[in-house]
Structures are given as structure tokens and as C-alpha cells.
Amino acid sequence: MHEWALAESVIKTVLKVAEENSIDKVTEVRIRIGEMQQLEHDVFKSALLCLKPDELKDAEFIVEIAKTKLRCGVCNHEWLFQKEGFEEDVLESIHFLPEVSHAYIKCPICGSPDFEIIEGRGIWVESVKGVRGSDRP
């Protein structure tokens, strides 16, 4: 599963943010994942724990799932992505690459395949909290 590959990128980003902001001890990391990505929450969290280096041992990872909102480019209708009604292999493909949904989803009102994912796509590091070093100038 690519939960691991994404978790790896999160760890890397957190380390970078901590360094850039002179955070010595990271205590909390908030991550948002779009529902369309259908990441296995448990797999993702355990990947984060396994990959967590010593520098992040005090960090708590909070993972939130964001609803995926779509907007039709033709009639402007907005709707939420729901996985009900899709074949298993289609969901698997969308899980792998949410943009693939463009091959399978159409606007429920006008039937156009020209829609945008306006919210809840991908994965975001929302905040990195921690304590700054006191011995720095």
C-alpha cells in the first residue's frame, strides 16, 4: 500500500519544518487526508509510528479525514464524493490516484465529466507544533 510512501513524505516534511523553524521538540503534527484517497487510517498511522525517527519521539500525529467536494465545470453543481456504488477495482484505482476518478465519475445533475476536485484531495500537513530550543540566539 502506498500509505507507507505517503507517511514517509510526511515524516520528511515534518523534519524539514522543524528545522526551518528551529523547533527542537515536535509535540503535535496535524495531517489532513482527502476522503477520496481512501487511505487506510490504521495502516497510515502505524506507518507513521514505524517510520518516526528519534527526533520525533515526542510527536503525536493527529490524522483527520476531509470530505472530498467536487464541482461540475458545466453546471457548477457541487457534490461530495461517496464510495458507495463503485466497483471494487474502480475504488482501488481511485485510491491509488484520485485523479483517475475523472475516468469514472460524472456530474450527477448534467452528466458532464468536466468536474474539479475543489476540496479534500490529497494529503496535507496542516500544522507542526513544538518547543523551540532555548539556547539559540
Partner: protein
Amino acid sequence: MIDPRVSIIQDRVGDINRIIAVTSGKGGVGKSLLASTLALLLARRGRSTGLFDLDFTSPSTHFILGVRETWPIEDKGIIPPLIHGLRYMSVVYYSKNRAMPLRGIEFSNAFIELFSVIKWGSLDFLIVDMPPGIGDAMLDLIRFVKRAEFLIVTTSSPLAFETVRKLISMLNELEAPILGVVENMKMEGSVVKQEVLRLGVNFLGEIPYDPVVENSLGNVCELLKTVFADSVNKIIEKME
């Protein structure tokens, strides 16, 4: 808010020696056929080679290679399957044979996602088949992957070459390395070579119009026997 995926892309391509993006100003000049043949011939020379179809909305390399019934392996990331000795990746694994319309930002999202989860491993060459023009794929490749060398394909037509001129000046402006220009379906009396050299760019060679190459689409063994493949073989020597 930070997109964490971007930070890992350099690691994912870190063990690839050379990344060659097959580009052009126009469509239909032979990028996909050249990219596929180039990758196959490099593999046949014993180089570990990958082929990545970045033309998400009109992928064609799977058709040229005759790819069927394979699926990437998921192992803490995505491992492209070996097809005809190539590590091969395309969105057709996931979009099947359906059209996949993508606007700019969504192209970039797919691009970043794929480059951040695909584990190419150690490769001598990654050949990238690009969509035509100076668009999202080219800009994203320069911004996120950084090390790609651009191989530009043109035909002898002044119309195709006119777009190549703009492409070259844009790549120069972006400080992206240009490997050189290939003239495909070469016509007699063409001045493309002189024009390319005048722009200070490498001329990598020419490929004649091959009336039977179309018969070999989907059949790699036949493809490698064509005049087209012979010409690509000569180009490889100039690339190294």
C-alpha cells in the same frame, strides 16, 4: 498547509542516473514511438531502464508496447512492473481504457502523487514520454523532478520546427538542460539540422519515414527490427 509529497520526490528519483524527457512543440511528431523504442533499445543494451508515460490524457506507450494484464506491485509504494525488460508505468493501469480529462491543477496533483509514491529503484535511464507543448508536464518536471534532460522531437515541417524554436527558448529560460533535437519523418531538402545547430543545440540525428513501422505497433520484437529502430539505435550513440 504543506503538501508533504513534494519533499520526497528527490529521494524517489535519487537512484536514477539519467532522466530523459521526450518532448515536442506539437503532437503527432513521434514522441511516444521514439520514447518507447529508445527505452527498449537501452534495455537491450543492458541498461536498467524505466519508461514513464506522462501523457495522462492521451497515453499511447502501452499500445506501442502491447501491455496487457499487468498491474504495479504495491509495497510501501508503487513498484512499476517489468515489461519487455523495462520498468513500465502509465496511468492506464488505473484508468483502463477510459478517457481521463484533467485540468491543470489536477494534472499537477496526479504528477506529484505518482512521483512521490513510485519506487523506481536504481536505474541507468528513466525515459519519460511527454504530452506535447510547453504545459503542465514540462513545468512540473522542471519544478519537482529538477534533473530531467529534454530530448526534443520535430518533423521536417517548418510548422513543427517553429514550435520547437519556442520550446528551446523556453527551456533555456528555465535553465533546463536540452539533450538535443531529433528530426523524425525526415523529408528531403529539410533545413532542420542547420537551424538546430544555429540555435546552439545538439542535433542528435534523423529518422526517415518508415512506411511499415505502424504494422509493428503492439509487437515489440517486430518494432525493434524496423528502420525506425535502427535509426534510434544510431541516436543512442550520440546521447551517451
